[in-house]
């Protein structure tokens, strides 16, 4: 099974305002796939579609090789879900929640549960409805990992948590993943965190998948060039000029954002009588922002 | 969402049983009104029916079971088969018919119209039978049996009418009447009835008004007297004539006060329905001519006529009668098996409906 998750022209509409059209996700098995996108771009909706919680209008969804939502309950034996809004039964205590989850998940491993429960310092007798946001985040991750999934669907698992809790949760996640090689599909607004742990990136914008590629090719695919007395017309540049602005440094320098830059492309600038001052790599966040800007510009 | 559910279910939950009871009482009131209306209308119709019959319709005269039956000639064929069935049943139940008693008894059977799909049979005594659809032989036979009983009651003397009722339902199914009598006996507060239930046969005679009350303690035991007074007079507690004695009897358990109030009450005898079961029992014991002997002379007291009809002394008749009543004790109320299965089935149906409910939220 080459891909943990694979959808072909997935179509979904909620009311008149929002629509997901011909969405083609392909999440490689074993990857840690970061799912980026501004608010309202359909990230949570997509995750709920992948889990068979929402009924698509068209298209196919395959999770771990099973078609969804038909083989949903067999898939859930191997998929763990951490939703954006906590979904546990409020009246339960932490111990009950763990016991209930264990009863339903055949691959549950109490060793993992106990270790994480200690590591997270969770109070077994606390009631779920009275857990803090951090404690809830830890509990949800504990339940997800203790069921030994092959795929973790995490919808903003650490957003809104304080750094210490975030560190504990991510450490547990990475520790589990590096041990089992499980696939992770994680949506988050904490781009720097995704930058550290993801090796794949998917970017959603207004219900469409605008980019899906490995992290490193995403990051060095887009560069910021510092050019002095740049030509007015880029002409037949070997790269794609996404945007250009007046530089804030020395007079006469411009900042060009380009895609598909290769080191050999220096000669172009000599050719047009400009001097390439500097090639700046963008981090994931800048790349993401630029990508969105150009994607929306292209579609206008 | 839960709040909506709760409100919805409370409404159906509360309204259900109450609605059910309210509907029943409304039902009963409707039926009584309809009966009253029909009765008045029938009486009016009877006044003019004789005159109308003579003028408009050729009368056919038929004879059955000693009765002269007059009816519209158009309906004569239907009446023919019914009369045969009627005669056969009457003979079976009455044995030798008290023919001289029925000599000039005439029963006019007239087919009135009572609205779409309903036919009404009106007989001389303004009794009527409302039948849905076409008139079938056994409806007519039942009506004629009823008329015969009324005629017998009318001719059987006023004592018999008071004792066993003007309709004298001797043709009714004894089993049903005996069961009703059993319930009457077990729920009556009167001392003789309770004693009769306990096996004291002479007390049965008193309860059936076939013997005078000799027990000095009166009709009621002290507690029962108080209970009866309380139930009967609880709405007139502020009526000056009754109030003081009522309070004395109910609050202070003053028996004499209770007794004095009870004087104005009707004597707690068993109903005419119970009396009919005695007559039926006597006929059963007396063989073929029992009714003839019973109706031959209406002057002696009922108990003597019963003894003559049954051919046994009253106590042994009542002993038999009491045995029959006790044997007619209704079955203990059970949840019928089919209802049990239906309930479980419905629970399963609802569960399956729930399991099948859509999973798209």
């Amino acid at each position: 099974m080459s891909h943990a998750i694979e959808t072909t022209d997935l179509h979904y509409r909620a009311g008149k305002s929002f629509e997901i059209r011909d969405l083609g996700l392909r999440v490689p098995a074993g990857a840690i796939y970061g799912f980026l996108g501004p608010n309202g771009s359909g990230k949570t909706t997509t995750i709920r579609l992948l889990l068979g919680l929402l009924r698509p209008l068209g298209g196919t969804i395959a999770v771990l090789g099973h078609t969804m939502p038909r083989e949903q309950h067999t898939v859930f034996r191997r998929v763990a879900y951490v939703p954006e809004r906590p979904h546990l039964y409020a009246s339960l205590t932490v111990r009950d929640a763990m016991a209930l989850h264990a009863a339903f998940h055949p691959r549950w491993e109490s060793a993992i549960a106990q270790d994480l429960s200690r590591a997270f310092e969770l109070d077994a007798d606390a009631r779920v409805e009275r857990l803090s946001k951090g404690e809830m985040g830890k509990l949800l991750m504990l339940l997800a990992l203790a069921q030994r999934p092959d795929l973790l669907m995490l919808d903003e698992p650490t957003d809104g948590l304080d750094p210490v809790v975030r560190r504990d949760v991510l450490m547990a996640l990475i520790d589990y993943v590096s041990e089992t090689g499980a696939t992770v599909f994680i949506s988050s607004h904490l781009v720097h965190e995704l930058e550290r742990i993801c090796d794949w990136v998917g970017v959603m914008d207004r219900g469409r998948l605008v980019a899906e590629l490995p992290m490193h090719s995403f990051k060095n695919g887009i560069k910021r060039l510092r050019v002095r007395n740049a030509p007015v017309q880029p002409g037949d540049a070997p790269f794609q000029l996404l945007a250009r602005e007046v530089g804030d440094g020395l007079a006469g320098t411009e900042v060009w954002v380009v895609r598909g830059w290769l080191p050999t492309m220096h000669q172009y600038f000599e050719g047009v009588g400009a001097t390439l001052h500097e090639v700046v790599d963008l981090d994931l966040e800048e790349g993401f922002v630029e990508l969105l800007r150009t994607a929306r510009a292209a579609r206008r | 969402m839960c709040r909506v559910l709760l409100a919805l279910l409370l409404v159906t939950g509360i309204a259900g049983p109450l609605g059910g009871q309210a509907a029943e009482s409304r039902e009963a009131r409707l039926a009584r009104l309809r009966a009253r209306y029909a009765e008045l209308q029938a009486r009016a119709e009877r006044q003019d029916s004789l005159a109308a019959l003579r003028l408009l319709v050729r009368l056919d005269t038929l004879r059955a079971a000693g009765l002269t039956v007059l009816t519209d000639s158009a309906q004569a064929p239907v009446l023919g088969s019914a009369l045969a069935a009627f005669e056969q049943q009457a003979r079976a139940q009455l044995g030798a018919l008290p023919l001289d008693l029925l000599r000039d008894a005439r029963v006019i059977v007239r087919f009135g119209n009572a609205g779409p799909g309903w036919t009404r049979l009106i007989t001389e005594d303004a009794q009527f039978l409302q039948i849905r659809g076409a008139v079938r032989g056994d409806d007519l036979a039942r009506q004629l049996r009823h008329s015969l009983a009324v005629v017998l009651a009318a001719r059987g003397g006023t004592a018999l009418q008071q004792w066993a009722g003007a309709d004298l339902r001797i043709f009714a199914d004894p089993a049903i009447l005996l069961e009703a009598t059993y319930i009457e006996l077990t729920t009556s507060p009167a001392r003789p009835a309770r004693a009769c239930l306990g096996g004291d046969v002479p007390a049965c005679a008193v309860a059936l008004d076939l013997a005078p009350l000799t027990d000095p303690r009166g009709w009621y035991e002290p507690g029962s007297a108080r209970a009866v007074v309380q139930r009967a007079l609880r709405l007139q507690t502020n009526d000056p004539a009754v109030a003081p004695r009522y309070r004395a009897c109910v609050e202070d358990a003053d028996l004499t006060a209770c007794q004095s109030l009870l004087q104005s009450f009707p004597v707690p005898r068993l109903s005419t329905r119970a009396a009919v079961t005695v007559l039926q029992r006597a006929a059963a014991m007396g063989g073929n001519q029992a009714y003839e002997r019973f109706f031959a002379d209406s002057t002696p007291p009922i108990r003597a006529r019963l003894e003559r009809a049954a051919g046994v002394p009253l106590d042994s008749l009542l002993g038999e009668w009491r045995a029959a009543v006790m044997a007619a004790r209704p079955e203990p109320t059970r949840v019928p098996r089919r209802s049990q299965w239906t309930a479980v089935l419905w629970a399963a149906v609802f569960a399956v409906a729930a399991a099948g409910s859509t999973r798209w939220r």
Binding site: L51, H73, F76, R77, Y81, H87, Y89, A90, S91, L100, A103, F104, H105 | M1, C2, V4, L5, L6, L8, L9, L10, V11, T12, G16, P17, G19, A23, Y182, T186, T187, P189, E221, P222, G223, S224, A225, R226, A227, V228, A253, P330, T333, R334, V335, S339, Q340, T342, A343, V344, A347, A348, F350, A351, A353, A354, A355, G356, S357, T358, R361
Partner: protein, 218 residues
């Protein structure tokens, strides 16, 4: 799996079930007491039986309340979480619903037992006159079936979406409105008789709830 669901649902309805059990135990005793069968001073049996019957009408009410309580206890946790937890369990939806239903059904048992024991205690303490019988077993069985059907009906309603609940509630109110309008317009058509009343007689579902509940009878 069932044990966990049962623990959760049991704890959620523990208070309700206990109260219902206490009520179930008291109703027969109160019925017999009020009707005067406990060291009776005198016999007015017709009246006493009517009082037994009127007290008996608390049984169907208790059955409905119990059914309501258990069904709500079964479904309110899921409704609060938009059913997401249940829908992401590795078991088919019907299996989950059956577990929920079974848990609620088991929780009926203590109340039915209470009604039965209450009936036995009440009829034991009562002085039963010649000719009358006691029916603690029949009442308990009938109460059990009535509560089961009531529970199942509300369970199905609560399991459905808001839309189905609205539809059912709407038709119910609609029928009652039509009947009221007809009566206003003095048109003598008994709509209820052909729509709601059949539900209350055999083979309708709510036959058990209606009719006479007589702990002591002929």
């Amino acid at each position: 799996m069932f044990a966990q669901i049962f623990r959760m649902q049991g704890r959620a309805s523990a208070l309700g079930v206990t109260l219902a059990a206490v009520a179930g135990f008291m109703v027969p005793i109160m019925a017999v007491q009020r009707a005067g069968f406990v060291n009776p001073s005198g016999w007015d049996i017709a009246e006493m039986l009517t009082m037994v019957e009127s007290a008996g009408s608390l049984f169907p009410l208790l059955a409905i309340v119990l059914g309501l309580l258990l069904a709500v206890a079964a479904w309110s946790p899921d409704h609060r979480g938009q059913h997401v937890y249940a829908l992401t369990l590795p078991i088919p939806r019907w299996h989950y619903v059956v577990l929920r239903f079974a848990a609620g059904t088991v929780l009926l048992i203590p109340v039915i037992a209470a009604v039965w024991v209450g009936g036995l205690v009440a009829t034991d303490a009562a002085t039963i006159p010649e000719g009358l019988r006691v029916y603690p077993g029949t009442i308990a069985l009938r109460f059990g079936l009535a509560a089961l059907v009531a529970y199942a009906a509300v369970f199905a309603l609560a399991a459905g979406t808001k839309r189905t609940a609205a539809i059912i509630f709407g038709t119910l109110v609609g029928i009652i409105l039509v009947q009221a309008l007809l009566e206003l317009a003095a048109i003598r058509v008994d709509v209820l008789r052909y729509t709601l009343l059949p539900l209350t007689d055999w083979p309708g579902p709510f036959e058990m709830l209606f009719g006479r509940w007589m702990l002591i009878n002929v």
